[in-house]
Every structure is written in C-alpha cells, then in structure tokens.
C-alpha cells in the first residue's frame, strides 16, 4: 500500500502539470529573461504569463503588484523591514503570539535592536481580541503583520477587517498568507491589505519560490538591491522555471478552490470525527468554526507527539506534531502554549493537513490506525491506568523537576 501524506501544511507535492510546465525552462528555454535575444524573450513572456496567473489567484488589481521572491520567509522579512525603512520614526510593530517563526524570530531580533513589539495574545480557541488591537494601533506603529491562517491549527484571522482598521490610522498592514492562498478565496483589490506573502510549495508549486504582493501606492523599500528585476524591488535573476511552475499552480489552485472547501473539507471532517469518536481524552485545538478546510489539529492527552508520529510513520502515515521533541526545543509549540493548552496535551498535538490528492480510502485507513497507536503509547504513560487516566493525574505523577 502506498504511504499516506497528511502533512500538506509543511509542504505539498508538485502537481504533475506544474512539473510539465516547468520542464522546458531547464533545457530549451534557459535564457535570461532580461536578455534581448530570442533565448531570453520567450522566458520573459513566460514570466509575464505566470505573473498574470498569480495575480488572478490573489485577485490583485495589477500584475505589477506581484513581486517574485525566493520563499515565504523572504517575503515576510522584506515586508517588515521595508516598513521600518519607510517610516524611520515609527518604532513599534504589531503582530501576534502565534505567527510563524519567519515573522516572530525577526520581531524578536528587532526587539533586541530597540523596537517595541506588541504581540497580540489569543484565547483558548486561538482567536484575537480586536479591542486590544484597536488600542495598540497608533501612528507610532510602522507595520502590522498578522497571519491569514495559522499553520498549526488552521485558525483564520480577520485580516481584511484588521487591514481596514490599520488603514484608518495610516499604518501599513502585512499578512503572511502562505497557508491561506489556494485554500481561502482571496480578492486583494477589494481589501486594504498593503502586503501579502505567498509560498509556492504550500500550493503544489516547487520549493524555493515565493511572492510578495505589494499594493500599488504602498510605500516600499527593497531588501535586495542590484539589477532591475521586479522593477528594482527585488534584484536577482528570476528563478524562471519555478516562477512558471508557480503560475501554473496558481491557475490550478483557482480551479480547485471550491473543491478544497467542499471535498477536502468533507474528508478532513470525516477524519476528525472518526478519531474523536474512537479515542478517549482527545480534543480539537484552534477554532473549529473558523479555520482552513484542510487542517485538523488534535491533542491526544497524556502522551507525547514524537512517539505518535514514529508509530504513524511505521504505518506509512505522515503527519506532524507540536511537541517539543520534534523540534529539539525545550517547549512545546508556541501556538499551543498561546492557547493555554496544558503541557500534558500540548506535547501530544498532531496536525493532519490534507490536500486535494487525498482519498476517502486513505482517510479511513488513518482512522483505523490512530486508536491502537494512542492506546499503545498510553500503556507506557505514567498518567494512564488500566482504563483511563489515573485519578488526579497531576498529583499521582509529579516528577521531581516538573
């Protein structure tokens, strides 16, 4: 039996049509798009077409609003650092506690360099408090950076509304939308979002290609300076084959966006309900009523995620975990901690993220595989008795340096 891939928020398989579109740009059409000769001209035209395809998926008003980058992280860093250069007298940034490290680690560094970082907290379902946001929005803020969808729980943030609020006080608004693009309908021309990050490999394009959407009229300073590529806003020879691949992937994503929100969602719900019905002491994290259609994040209490992943992997099932051990850090996922999920559950969170390639047969295999794996690890757990958690688990087992 073929292995089952349920880790699509980490990365996705390239669509075969994407690969097919890319192939001519390695051997035949290898020219530099900036060149005058025929080797370059065809590539230049192909990039133009890809830009239109990306524009269509994002609902951008102009294709010149699409800046090609190397990845989502580059787009995030470019956006935030640009705002700091454009508004040198503004020393504050608003973000959230649950952002991707591409934003959080940069903000932590900027904090050391003297900026004030406001990190909006979330409630137990991962939701923001917009009143707190409103209080912090002042002309001292250089930029707001808030993700569209959370990579771990899939929880959606009201970024369109938050962008309106920022615009009203003259503050730039950036959103890391790497998980949302292709799964949530997006129409940027009707929003006040100034900048938006896209990562190709999250939507069946290859790794190593990203986009920074930059609304016409928004002030901007480039991160890379050099040649005239991307109108001087991101110097460096274009990753032509990958750009073409991303264009094709965007076209396919637009075609499948309804499918993602119907068929994929049905499979996700089937998986989630199947597991919850069979496994005691587990629960869904994040906001089940307002999240990506492909993501299910389930916390299995009293066991640790890496063990679950290793046993799933043995069954040919790929997923990911918010436990400390899977990353080699000393704390479980910052997203789980921000939602105040207890340690005994946070370490046992498993994220299943689906794609349009998953089948019902696969989902049913996973539903059958999970309960015995959880039971086996609970058999080893000091918190688990013969038929359930031991009475008063935190008292019954209280290790010395807990």
């Amino acid at each position: 039996m073929a292995d089952i891939y349920l880790d699509n928020n980490a990365t996705t398989q390239c669509d075969p049509k994407v690969v097919e579109a890319m192939l001519p740009f390695f051997l035949e059409q290898f020219g530099n798009p900036s060149s005058i000769h025929s080797f370059g001209a065809g590539v230049g035209r192909a990039l133009g077409k890809a830009r239109k395809q990306i524009q269509a998926l994002l609902g951008a008003a102009h294709d010149s609003e699409i800046i090609l980058t190397s990845c989502g992280t580059e787009s995030d860093n470019t956006a935030i650092l640009s705002a700091l250069k454009c508004f040198p007298n503004r020393k504050e940034i608003i973000t959230t506690t649950v952002e991707h490290p591409a934003v959080l680690a940069l903000c932590t560094q900027l904090e050391k360099e003297g900026y004030t970082i406001h990190r909006l907290g979330v409630d137990s379902k991962g939701r923001l408090d917009l009143e707190e946001y409103k209080r912090l929005l002042t002309p001292n803020v250089a930029i707001v950076s808030v993700m569209w969808a959370n990579n771990e729980t899939g929880t959606l943030f009201p970024v369109e509304e938050m962008a309106e609020m920022a615009h009203a006080v003259g503050v730039q608004f950036h959103t890391d939308a790497v998980q949302a693009v292709g799964k949530v309908p997006i129409n940027l021309k009707n929003t006040k979002i100034d900048m938006l990050s896209v990562s190709g490999h999250k939507l069946h394009a290859p790794k190593g290609i990203g986009v920074l959407y930059l609304k016409r009229g928004a002030r901007f300073r480039p991160l890379f300076r050099g040649g005239h590529q991307e109108r001087g806003r991101r110097a460096g020879t274009e990753n032509a084959a990958s750009v073409v691949g991303l264009g094709k992937a965007c076209e396919l994503a637009l075609e499948h966006i309804e499918f993602e929100n119907t068929q994929v969602k049905v499979l996700r719900d089937r998986l989630e309900q199947g597991i919850l019905a069979q496994v005691p002491n587990c629960f869904v994290t994040g906001d089940p009523d307002n999240r990506l259609p492909n993501t299910a994040n389930i916390a299995f209490e009293y066991i640790e995620g890496e063990g679950i992943l290793m046993l799933l992997n043995k069954e040919g099932i790929a997923a990911s975990s918010g436990s400390a051990c899977t990353s080699g850090s000393l704390e479980p996922s910052h997203v789980m901690r921000a939602m105040d999920i207890p340690y005994t559950a946070a370490h046992g969170t498993i994220r299943f993220s689906l794609s349009r390639y998953n089948t019902q047969l696969e989902i049913d295999r996973v539903i059958a595989a999970v309960p015995p794996i959880v039971a086996e690890l609970r058999r080893l757990s000091p918190y688990w008795g013969d038929n359930g958690p031991v009475t008063e688990p935190e008292k019954a087992f209280a290790p010395v340096y807990a």
């Binding site: 066991i303 890496e306 051990c325 899977t326 340690y343 058999r379 080893l380 087992f397 340096y401």
Partner: protein
C-alpha cells in the same frame, strides 16, 4: 525526523519492562512535563543480596525517552545497587548505539530516575542538581545554563573564552550569535559592556595547498587531518584530554581519545565535533570512529 540508531528504534517499537511494578520497593519519578519528557522507574531490590531483581518503567516522552527508559531497565536488572549507582547516562546512550545531541538529555533523565529510585529504596531524600537550558551548541551539546554559569563564575568576555571553557562554538560556529547574547546579558549584570570587536582573531591552521583537481594526495589528506586535530587540541587539553590520529581507511578516520577525553561523558559528542570539523576542512564525507573499534569486526549498522 531524527536520525535514530536501529537500537533506539527497536527499543521504542518493542519497549522492554513496561508498566507499574507491584511490590516495588524503590520508585523514582523524574523529568519535566513542560519539556515533554518524564519517567517513573520502579525497582524491586532483594534486601538480602542488594540485587535489583526487577525493574519497570512508565514514560511520558518522545521516542528516545522511551528507548532510554527501556534500555535503562535492561541495563540494571540483575545488578547490585552499588554497581547500578555507577551507571552513567553515557552507558545508556552507548547501549542504544548513540543518541542525537538534542536527545542526550533523555539518557540523563534515565540515570536520574535510577538514582532517585535507589534513594527511595534506601529511604533517602534524592536531591536533584538538574538544571537544563536550551541547547546552544549542537556540535558539542552545550546548553545555555552551562555557558551562563561559566561566563558568570569565570568572568568570561569573549566567544573564544567560552569555547575554551566549554567547547561550545568550537565546531560549525553557528551558535556564536547565541553565545554573544549570553555574554551580553551576563556582562550587563556585572556592569560590563560586551565588546564584539575585542573577540580575538580565530587562528586558522596554515592552509595546506590543495592538489590539482581530483583532490589531495594521501599524504596531503593525512596532513590536513592532523592539522585539524592540532587546531582542536588546545580545547581538549583544557579539559585534561587529548586526541591522536591512528588510522585512515577510506572515509573512516580512527582517532584515539586519551587522558580525560577517553572516559569523558562527552566523548561521543567530542568525536561528533571533530567529525564535523574534518568534513568541513576536507570537503568530503568522512566518519570518525574511536580507535578502540579498529580491532573489532565491522558493525552492520553505521550511524553518527
């Protein structure tokens, strides 16, 4: 995913001695729920012979925590208590054919559970001296707390000094920013300002001329290996140890760890660090193996 040895996987997939142990006369609960690793070790000691007749574990933790717990029970069963007290975390790691540096703390937890269980058997209070911080240097498995303590107690001021004391930062150098941040913080506490410019130049060993395309000659290669060991030697000597090149067989390099290094708890880490440096300097994949293995028949499974 981690690069676990087959032995770790085996003990994770088929853990030995699982569960509560009725009639246990020694129980040790250690670990940290915030870090996600905690272990209960239960032992039955024969009060006449002092022999550990049975041992079982219950673990909340990752694959290597479960494997380390399983290994621990296998190691100590049948041992006398005094003998068991000498089991180190490296014995556990070695039993499992090694653990990734980020996972060495799992073997430390095993040793602590054993000490706690024996203390419980003897009716003593077990005081844990455990203090674990975030891993800063991955080459030599040095954590933040250790570096912070040394910077404080020895008034260290530069990354080079930290490397001399702890080896941290002596390998791939990726943690130098992290070490500088610790220096900044601790020096500020004592009213000093960290000066990045005062960092002494790292003395690079004289670069050896590369042979024409196609790589080095055997003699050039061996000379370069020796030069790398020479550059690491001051750090080893700082800890009262040394290393000596014994044999080069294809891409396997046999090094004899001597003095304090031969028995040092960090020997496997040190070898990992030397291997990293050698790979960088030689620009090829090599494996550093302790010279003791030279006499033994080759293992079926290779691992870092």
């Amino acid at each position: 995913m981690w690069d676990y040895s087959d032995k770790v996987k085996e003990h994770f997939f088929q853990p030995r001695n699982v569960g509560a142990l009725p009639g246990a006369n020694g129980i040790g609960d250690v670990g940290s729920i915030s870090c996600g690793d905690a272990l209960r070790l239960s032992i039955i000691v024969n009060e006449d012979t002092d022999v550990i007749e049975d041992a079982k574990f219950q673990t909340f933790g990752c694959g290597s925590a479960i494997a380390s717990s399983s290994a621990l029970t296998e190691i100590i069963k049948g041992m006398k208590v005094e003998e068991a007290l000498k089991v180190t975390n490296d014995d556990i790691a070695e039993f499992l054919d090694g653990l990734p540096p980020e996972k060495m703390h799992c073997s430390v937890m095993g040793r602590e559970a054993l000490q706690a269980a024996i203390a419980n058997f003897k009716g003593e209070e077990w005081a844990d001296d455990h203090e674990e911080g975030a891993l800063v240097c991955k080459c030599f498995a040095v954590d933040e707390k250790l570096i912070e303590g040394l910077v404080r107690n020895h008034n260290l001021r530069t990354v080079q000094e930290v490397t001399n004391y702890t080896k941290a930062g002596g390998g791939c150098c990726a943690c130098h920013e992290g070490i500088e941040e610790i220096l900044m913080r601790v020096m500020e506490e004592r009213g000093e300002i960290f000066n990045a410019d005062s960092v002494p130049e790292i003395v690079e060993p004289e670069p050896l001329p590369l042979a024409a395309k196609g790589g080095m000659t055997t003699v050039q290669r061996i000379r370069r290996i020796e030069a790398v060991i020479e550059s690491i030697r001051p750090n080893l000597r700082m800890d009262g140890g040394d290393a000596e090149l014994v044999e080069v067989d294809g891409n396997t390099i046999y090094i004899k760890m001597t003095g304090a290094c031969s028995s040092c708890g960090m020997a496997s880490m040190t070898i990992g660090g030397i291997q990293q440096r050698l790979m960088e300097e030689l620009g090829e994949f090599i494996k550093v193996v302790p010279a003791e293995k030279l006499a033994q028949p080759p293992r079926k499974v290779a691992h870092g």
